[in-house]
């Protein structure tokens, strides 16, 4: 879920940019050579995949995939999602430029956390551990992002309590779907013999 322009207070927007700049600094330092086009291409994959309408019950959801992106990219998830969000803002006006810092941090930081948590599971590589990795990446990615979004909305003022609550609840179906999808993606990559850490 991307926060729109004009919602958050200035200090929140600026803090977002500061944190994202730090994340970008670490992320960009970690990639060189062949990892530059690789990060870009995977970023495009996450951009495109997040546009899929995945049916759930009578409605459909878009996926965040930040846990999965983090697990595969490590700190490079910062530049990868920054670029994807920049294009969402430019091409569709989803999110925006002043909130780009906040939105990138909301998505990418949980990705980095997911990276450290699931790394040993991916290394182990058994079916069970890959499924566990998929479930954990979804839970960490989605719920940490939801927590950030809700906390930021709360920071606007007391009138935002309901808005923040509803925003958090909207993430629950997304997490449920992503648990299944992430697990199958890890199994897929394993079966294909592609390194799980790219």
């Amino acid at each position: 879920m991307h926060i729109s322009e004009g919602v958050l207070p200035g200090w929140c927007l600026i803090t977002g940019w500061v944190l994202t700049s730090a994340g970008l600094y670490v992320g960009l330092k970690s990639i060189n050579g062949r990892k530059i086009p690789r990060t870009a291409l995977l970023s495009a994959v996450f951009f495109v995949a997040s546009l899929i309408h995945v049916p759930i019950g009578v409605t459909s959801v878009h996926l965040l995939l930040n846990g999965l992106a983090g697990a595969l990219l490590g700190w490079a998830v910062f530049p990868a999602l920054f670029v994807a969000l920049l294009f969402q803002a430019l091409l569709f006006q989803f999110g925006g430029i002043t909130v780009l810092g906040v939105n990138t941090f909301n998505m990418a930081f949980p990705g980095v956390v997911a990276y450290y948590v699931v790394k040993p599971l991916l290394k182990k590589g058994t079916t069970g551990s890959l499924i566990a990795a998929g479930v954990l990446a979804a839970l960490i990615g989605v719920f940490l992002a939801a927590t950030f979004v809700s906390a930021e909305l709360m920071s606007v003022g007391s009138s935002f309590t309901k808005t923040a609550e509803l925003a958090f609840l909207a993430h629950i179906p997304v997490a449920a779907v992503e648990m299944v999808i992430n697990s199958f993606v890890f199994l897929y990559l394993k079966k294909s013999g592609i390194p799980l850490e790219v």
Partner: protein
């Protein structure tokens, strides 16, 4: 009995008339070739039959006219389509999973799916490729798998877009034997004159968006 019939089919893509007034019919179990120069509309014709392209005119499957996306989505389980480029068609992690996709989507039980996959692997003599990732297959193997993964659907009609391109002698022979043997109706778009001579089926020519014998 007519399984597929097309009347006055017209397709416009990007303001160009790709198909103009195509009439066509296919009997149950009938097998035909469609040939013709590049860009004549052969692939578009197959895609239109699958319901992937907006069209004017009438397409019927077993006497029922197909109009909406819903009509086509039901039909697609019964009519298979082998892409011109196997790389575009294959998306599962391994050969086995690729073959299992269609029966799983149909909602068949695990054991049934397993049995179908085994039978098809044997039929196309690709048992050794079972667990191989599809991207690691050779060009010819990809082609065989792209046909096999449609066959596991047990379709009544199969549309094939240049299925023999890039096959070695042995795989070519295997595929041709399958074409002869199968009970499904076939529409094969091809330039392979050897194939057409060998099988001797009806030959239709697509030229400038028109189909004639």
């Amino acid at each position: 009995m007519e399984i597929l019939s097309v009347e006055n089919l017209r397709v416009k893509l990007e303001n160009r008339e790709v198909l103009r007034r195509v009439n066509f019919s296919l009997k149950d179990g009938e097998k035909v070739f469609i040939t013709g120069p590049n860009g004549a509309g052969k692939t578009t014709f197959l895609e239109t039959l699958m319901g992937f392209v907006p069209f004017e005119g009438k397409i019927s499957f077993k006497g029922n006219e197909l109009k909406s996306e819903d009509d086509f989505s039901v039909l697609r389980g019964r009519m298979g389509y082998v892409f011109q480029n196997p790389d575009d068609q294959l998306f599962a992690p391994t050969v086995e999973e690729e073959l299992a996709f269609a029966p799983l989507v149909k909602g068949l039980k695990r054991e049934q799916v397993k049995e179908i996959v085994e039978r098809t692997l044997k039929e196309f003599e690709i048992e050794h490729l079972r667990e191989k990732p599809t991207y690691k297959l050779s060009g010819g193997e990809k082609r065989i798998v792209s046909v096999a993964c449609v066959v596991t659907m047990d379709p009544e009609v199969i549309l094939l877009d240049e299925p023999t391109t890039g096959l070695d002698r042995n795989k070519w022979e295997k595929l041709v034997e399958f074409f002869e043997r199968t009970g499904s109706s076939l529409i094969i778009v091809t330039h392979d004159t050897k194939l057409m001579k060998r099988l001797g089926w009806k030959r239709l020519v697509m030229e400038n968006g028109e189909l004639r014998e």
